[in-house]
Structure formats: structure tokens, C-alpha cells
């Protein structure tokens, strides 16, 4: 039983501001240090940090850890607001299973596969429009953002025309320090009002969309309450676009830097699905590990006894670079065969939209390598426009040429 901190003081966390694609160097040192490390986030109490693959998976997947216990002013977090009604990410089984199950059938591999052809046509059109605009063009605005927004709008039944409003309000759920607390409250309320109204509309006039399907589960089967439904729909809308919209430009940036890997995909677009897995593994999307798990009883993790009631964060980006599981882990290798990454999480909270995100990223990347084989990032590294004060790392804009 050892602690990785030499002087017993928690390390200030996160280890960087996320304005870089490379994982902060500190994680590599911690992975090779026995035990867990104690860190101190900007808000809340100190917290254990699990940086190795096995330890991170234990924290995320072992039922002795709870998300529901992560409430109150002491919860370790990068943002000043106390965790509020975060929906399914703040629930434990069996409540979690009950509510998530209302939506999960819409996100299975089988259902997502049925959406692939339409998504492919959609990406082709977006790429055409970007080419029509002429180089250089912003990959985020032209392709990476409209792609998942259009898909999730159609799936949920949210009007695409409302995107400016709901994208602005969504930032309330994505901000760490970007927005002042009163704006977070204001936007969160606005999005809730918007979604409540949409749900009422669908109740009066059902359509062939996920909101209507969830309403049937609510009204006919009594599986969830109206409030739970609205929260779930908001979660799907927000999580359903920001991550894919951020990751696709990240992938293009990394492949531009590792040009031999891009060239390999140009020659062999059949490698795109494998490349997506590799890039989900390699790109540390989160600026800071988030959503601590609380031990419900004493649990040994990585040689440390985590006491009942203590919070632990799983460093997913670090776990995905663990040499014990991924040989040559810091290298981007689109040919990598065994790739049990936890980029979509692990355990009960494994990303609900993982299969959808995979499909969108595959179709997005496939369209770019086949249609624009000479695609390059159009600005130097010191001119990159990084997101700031948000949970995810990536670009606000990414100018590209082809």
C-alpha cells in the first residue's frame, strides 16, 4: 500500500489546459509509479486518480463504485457548479439500467448500421459543399459539426433549424470555466424548456423518432417519468453531437501530423474502421478526467486501499496509453489489431452512443480520405484555435486545404 505522492500533498489537477493533442507527460510517470496518486481538482475535495488500464477499468466497471454517491459540494470537479441533474451519468444500477434501457435499443449496432447509408450520403454532400466553398475552409463548420448534429436531430426528432439555439444552450453542459455560473444556469434552463416543449408536441402528435418512442415507454409502459425523459433527451442531444464534432477534426490533425498513417488510409480506405478505433484510443478527448466514482465499501485498486466514501477518477486517456496492454502505446498505428481501448468508457456508463459515434467517425473519415486525398491542415501549430474552458480538447476551427 503506497502513495505515489512523495510529500503526501495531492497533485494539482488537471495536468494541463488541454491546448495540445498530446497526452500530458505526467501520466506516463504516474503509470510507472506504484499505487494510486491523490490529486486536487479546482473544486471539491481531494481524489484518487487511476492512470493504469486495469485500475481505470476497475474504477469504471466494478459495482462497488458508485456514481450516484457523487453529489454535494465536496465532489471533485473542474467547474464551480455543483453536479445537478446529470441524468443517467449520475445514477447507479438498477435505476440506471431502467432509464437507459428506454433509449438504448435505438443505439445498438444493428440500428446504427441501418443509418449508415443515409449518413454516407450526408457526409458526401457536406464535403461537396466545403469543396464548393473553396480552400482553405473550416473543417469544423463545414463537416465535423453539421454531420453529428444532422444525424442526432433526425434520430431524436429535434428540428435542425433550431441548431443555433440548442448548440448555444448545450455549452452549459460542456463548459468547465468557459461560461460564468449564472449563464450555465440560464442556458441549462432554456434547453430544458425547449426540450419539454418538444416532448409535449410529440405527445400530441407522435412521429417516427426517438422522442416519440421514449414517450411510449413513458406513457404506455410507465418505465420512466416525464422529467426523466426530458433529461434523457437533453443528454442524448448534447452528448450526441459535441464529441463526434470535436473528434473528427482531432483525427484529421493527428493524421496530418502522422502523414504516413494518412497515406496508408488513402491507399487502403478499408482500414478506416481500424483507424477510428486507434484514434479513439490515442486522442485524449477529455482535458481532465471527470465524473468521479465513490467507493461504496473498501476496495483495493492498484495496490491502494480506497476507503468507503472516497472518490476515484479514472484517467481514460492515460489508460489507453498503457504499455501493459498496448505495445508501443504512444504511437498512432492504424494497423493495430488488438485494441481493447476504453475511449468510450467501460461498465454501466459505457457510452450510450458509442456505435453511432463509430459509424459517424468512420463515414466522416472515409469521405475525407477518399474524396480529398491531399487534405492538409492549413495553419501552423502556433495558429491553431483551441477550445478552452471546456471538458473536451479540440479545435473551435480547423482550417484545411486539399
Amino acid at each position: 500500500m503506497t502513495e505515489a505522492t512523495t510529500d503526501g500533498q495531492p497533485l494539482p489537477y488537471p495536468f494541463g489546459d488541454g491546448r495540445q493533442i498530446d497526452l500530458e507527460q505526467r501520466y506516463a510517470e504516474l503509470r510507472d509509479t506504484p499505487g494510486l496518486v491523490k490529486v486536487q481538482l479546482p473544486y471539491g475535495r481531494d481524489c484518487w486518480l487511476a492512470t493504469r488500464y486495469e485500475d481505470a477499468r476497475t474504477v469504471l466497471g466494478d459495482p462497488r463504485f458508485s456514481r450516484a454517491a457523487a453529489v454535494g459540494p465536496d465532489v471533485p470537479r473542474p467547474n464551480p457548479e455543483q453536479p445537478g441533474d446529470g441524468g443517467i451519468l449520475m445514477l447507479d444500477p438498477p435505476e440506471h439500467t431502467r432509464i437507459r434501457g428506454v433509449a438504448s435499443r435505438a443505439f445498438t449496432a444493428r440500428r446504427v448500421e441501418e443509418m449508415r447509408e443515409r449518413t454516407r450520403a450526408l457526409v458526401e454532400r457536406l464535403v461537396d459543399e466545403m469543396v464548393g466553398h473553396g480552400a482553405p475552409a473550416d473543417l469544423v463548420a463545414h463537416v465535423a459539426l453539421p454531420l453529428p448534429v444532422l444525424v442526432i436531430c433526425e434520430m431524436l426528432g429535434v428540428p435542425f433549424a433550431d441548431r443555433d439555439d440548442f448548440q448555444r444552450w448545450s455549452s452549459a453542459f460542456l463548459s468547465t470555466t468557459l461560461l460564468p455560473p449564472e449563464t450555465v444556469v440560464e442556458y441549462g434552463g432554456a434547453l430544458r424548456d425547449y426540450m419539454s416543449e418538444l416532448v409535449e408536441q410529440r405527445r400530441a402528435e407522435p412521429a417516427d423518432d426517438l422522442i416519440s418512442a421514449m414517450l411510449r415507454a413513458s406513457d404506455e409502459q410507465g418505465r420512466i417519468t416525464r422529467d426523466e425523459l426530458v433529461t434523457l433527451a437533453i443528454g442524448i442531444l448534447v452528448a450526441g453531437h459535441e464529441t463526434t464534432a470535436t473528434q473528427l477534426p482531432n483525427f484529421v490533425y493527428v493524421l496530418d501530423r502522422e502523414r504516413d498513417q494518412w497515406d496508408l488510409l488513402r491507399e487502403r480506405p478499408d482500414l478506416v474502421p481500424r483507424a477510428v478505433e486507434e484514434l479513439v484510443r490515442w486522442v485524449p478527448l477529455g482535458v481532465s478526467s471527470a465524473f468521479p466514482r465513490y467507493a461504496k465499501e473498501d476496495v483495493e485498486v492498484g495496490g491502494v486501499l480506497v476507503r468507503a466514501g472516497e472518490p476515484v477518477l479514472a484517467a481514460i486517456g492515460s489508460a489507453n496509453r498503457d504499455e501493459r496492454v498496448f505495445p508501443d502505446a504512444d504511437r498512432v498505428d492504424v494497423l493495430r489489431e488488438s485494441n481493447p481501448h476504453i475511449g468510450f468508457g467501460h461498465g454501466p456508463h459505457h457510452c450510450l452512443g458509442a456505435q453511432l459515434a463509430r459509424m459517424e467517425l468512420q463515414e466522416g473519415l472515409r469521405a475525407l480520405v477518399t474524396r480529398l486525398p491531399d487534405l492538409r491542415v492549413a495553419v501552423a501549430d502556433d495558429e491553431l484555435d483551441w477550445k478552452s474552458g471546456m471538458f473536451v480538447r479540440g479545435f473551435r476551427e480547423l482550417p484545411v486545404t486539399w
Binding site: 435499443r105 461498465g347 454501466p348
Partner: protein, 76 residues
């Protein structure tokens, strides 16, 4: 559902090891070498089993009514 017996199978080829079932219903599923496996092939009918079977992202969990053979999950 009382008295019903269900059979539970996991397609280990399809399983992606998300840990959804083992983490949500540890009384029924466990991860072995990164893939899920039912702890028992036959169980008393239980909503928890159906819930996680419906939540499996790749529909790798097959639940049947033992008496009738009817497929309860995944939805056909």
C-alpha cells in the same frame, strides 16, 4: 413472471467487452478475458437480466423463456 425460467447466453464473438452487463448486473454476468459470460445458463425470470440484455450495445445477450423457447431479448 413468477415461476418462469429464462436461459441466458452471451455471444462471445459479438461481445465487445463494454462491461455494461457485468457492471450493471454482477449477479448474472462476469467479464472473463475481457468478454462477458453469464454466471448461470438458466435463471429465474428477472427484470434486471432483461434490462441489461436490452442495453447491450451489440445485442450479444440472448434471453429466452425456457418453457416456450420464445426470445425475450434482444427485440426481434
Amino acid at each position: 413472471m413468477s415461476g418462469q425460467r429464462w436461459s441466458v447466453e452471451v455471444d462471445r464473438e459479438a461481445c465487445i467487452g463494454s462491461g455494461m452487463c457485468a457492471g450493471s448486473a454482477p449477479a448474472f454476468f462476469e467479464l472473463v478475458d475481457g468478454r462477458s459470460r453469464p454466471l448461470r445458463a438458466e435463471v429465474d425470470a428477472d427484470d434486471e437480466v432483461l434490462g441489461v440484455a436490452e442495453s447491450c450495445p451489440v445485442e450479444a445477450i440472448l434471453v429466452r423463456d425456457v418453457a416456450t423457447g420464445a426470445q425475450l431479448a434482444p427485440e426481434e
